[in-house]
């Protein structure tokens, strides 16, 4: 037994402080969870209306549209790539669907399928440029952002697409219908109005969480982002993994755009502008590493809630909405500092 054993992690009884840090670094969701709770307490103590069912239900409705994109982006970023074109795809997919509905006899389900196909194709092109031509995803998806946004504007000459009353369509009902829990009357007074989009968000979040943490494909996603050379050496098809995740992210962006267009009864070629930044913010606040290898769907769900409650809360407590970005920027910087400090601590502890 010589001295190299002293470098090993076991040994001295860890102090309580070290234990907490350990737990924090092993559980990236803990930081955002604490932040969320603090925000809830602060906002509610300033304005008790914050926790009203009505307010929660309103906040959640918008939330899930961006949240859907963030779920796909979480897996993509875990594999070491990201996608700046999601905001454009959000706007473009809805425009494609409504243009088809308005100017052809295809009907809504078929138009929906075609529009989703277009979104998936955009993701495939992103994936092709990144994995086959080896161009960094920043450049590829920045280019795609412009191409797709430009296409949406060109297709519509810049005007919003007419969206007729979709109330009768079963597909619209499935995507954005709502039901009332515990309330009465048309306005669901006293109860919680739940939109189908929330159900979609929960179902997809649960599925992707399962995929990422419990399946072989999830293992491949983490390995692809964590050490691509090792993954390749073990025969993990890292290009196919990334390709699929680009397509998934784009599909979810398209779905979110369609849901949003039905909800607000407008398919605006400009909608979704700058959503890519907000989505990436949600994901990194939740604890997913920008450089890949570590990702958490639970964290992203928390990140989604944090950003929405922040937007909602600062209006409720009377801070001008224009100051929103100051808070978001500060939260991103703070959370990144926390995650990187924990990571460093984690690595030094070995």
């Amino acid at each position: 037994m010589t001295d190299e054993k002293t470098a090993a992690p076991a040994g001295a009884a860890p102090s309580r402080d070290f234990d907490l840090l350990r737990r924090l670094s092993a559980t990236p969701e803990l930081g955002p969870l604490i932040l969320l709770i603090v925000m809830l307490i602060v906002f509610t103590s300033i304005n008790p209306a914050f926790l009203s069912l009505n307010n929660i239900s309103n906040a959640l409705t918008f939330t899930v549209e961006l949240g859907l994109i963030a779920l796909g982006m979480t897996l993509l970023m875990t594999s070491g790539e990201f996608d700046l074109s999601v905001g454009s795809v959000f706007g473009f997919t809805a425009v494609v669907m409504w243009t088809l509905i308005n100017s052809t006899e295809l009907g809504m389900p078929l138009s929906f399928a075609i529009a989703m196909g277009v979104a998936i194709l955009i993701g495939a092109v992103n994936g092709f440029f990144v994995t086959r031509l080896k161009i960094p995803s920043f450049l590829v998806t920045l280019g795609m952002l412009l191409v797709v946004r430009g296409s949406a504007l060109w297709l519509t000459s810049g005007f919003p697409q007419r969206t007729w009353e979709t109330g009768q369509q079963w597909l619209a009902e499935v995507l954005v219908g709502d039901f009332c829990i515990g309330g009465t009357g048309d306005f669901c007074s006293g109860g919680l109005r739940v939109y189908m989009s929330l159900i979609w968000f929960i179902v997809i979040a649960a599925m992707l969480h399962y995929v990422l943490t419990r399946t072989r494909f999830g293992n491949w996603i983490q390995a692809t982002g964590g050490n691509p050379a090792a993954a390749r050496n073990r025969g993990v098809p890292i290009r196919r993994v990334k390709m699929l995740l680009f397509m998934l992210t784009s599909a979810l962006a398209g779905l979110a755009g369609i849901i949003s267009s039905i909800r607000v009864s407008a398919a605006n070629p400009n909608s979704g502008t700058t959503y890519e930044l907000e989505v990436i913010a949600m994901v990194v606040i939740g604890g997913t590493a920008l450089m890949g290898g570590r990702g958490t769907i639970l964290g992203t769900v928390l990140g989604v809630l944090i950003l929405r409650l922040m937007r909602n809360g600062i209006v409720l407590i009377g801070v001008p909405g224009l100051a929103y970005n100051i808070f978001i920027g500060a939260i991103i910087l703070g959370m990144m500092a926390l995650h990187s400090a924990l990571e460093r601590r984690h690595n030094e502890g070995t």
């Binding site: 037994m1 010589t2 001295d3 190299e4 054993k5 470098a7 090993a8 992690p9 076991a10 419990r214 399946t215 072989r216 494909f217 999830g218 293992n219 491949w220 983490q222 390995a223 964590g226 050490n227 050379a229 090792a230 993954a231 390749r232 050496n233 073990r234 025969g235 993990v236 290898g293 570590r294 984690h346 690595n347 502890g349 070995t350």
Partner: protein, 249 residues
Amino acid sequence: MTTPIVEMRGIEKFYGRIHALRGVNLQVNRGEIVGLLGDNGAGKSTLIKVLSGAVPYTSGQILINGKEVALTSTNDAIDAGVETIYQDSALVPQLSIARNLFLGRELTRGPLGRLDQGEMNRVATDLLRRVGITKNIPPTTPISSLSGGERQAVAIARAMYFDSEIIILDEPTNNLGVAETQGVLNFVRDARDKGHACIFIAHNIHHVFQVVDRMVVMRRGEVAADDLSPKTSSIQDVENIITGEHLAA
């Protein structure tokens, strides 16, 4: 005469204009540890990357157990029974020991590829004990919190589990302490005694002398000598061949 387990014939490799391998012939027999030596840039890593399917070769033939194989991917090589332990590109730091052991060959249940985490952890615990990690390290520990020797042991455990016929170790003793190095050398001897063939690359010529049956020296992309025995050659002789000094004499 038994057929060699690995036979590489006339392997040529160009990286663009760099001629990294110039008609290399290499044979490795069952139950033999071959030490691959050579200065930096001699082509050792390139040669074993060819054998492990990680880089395509320009021309030449590779036979495993007497049958010609086309190693166009690392999967081909793993399926042919070649397990490579790279010095730094073997493991994913964020993933657990068990998940690294089974990376690319995960144990799953059902059509959705659900990981059989329990079985993977059980096997991993067993393997860790077999490669001499006696400290109680749970198989769910991420690689990032292991020491260099422990990481090497995990990579070696993988070769043991898959019971690969041919085990390649590229500088496995770099950055290791004395006891950890002995662990690696013991493993290599063990594997040889069980009939595996090993190709062992190490910078430290003393480590090579301790463990190999035969030494192959590469210089500037060619094999300069392929039948040196640690019993009959001195370290000085071998060093002279590595540097090309014996030619000048």
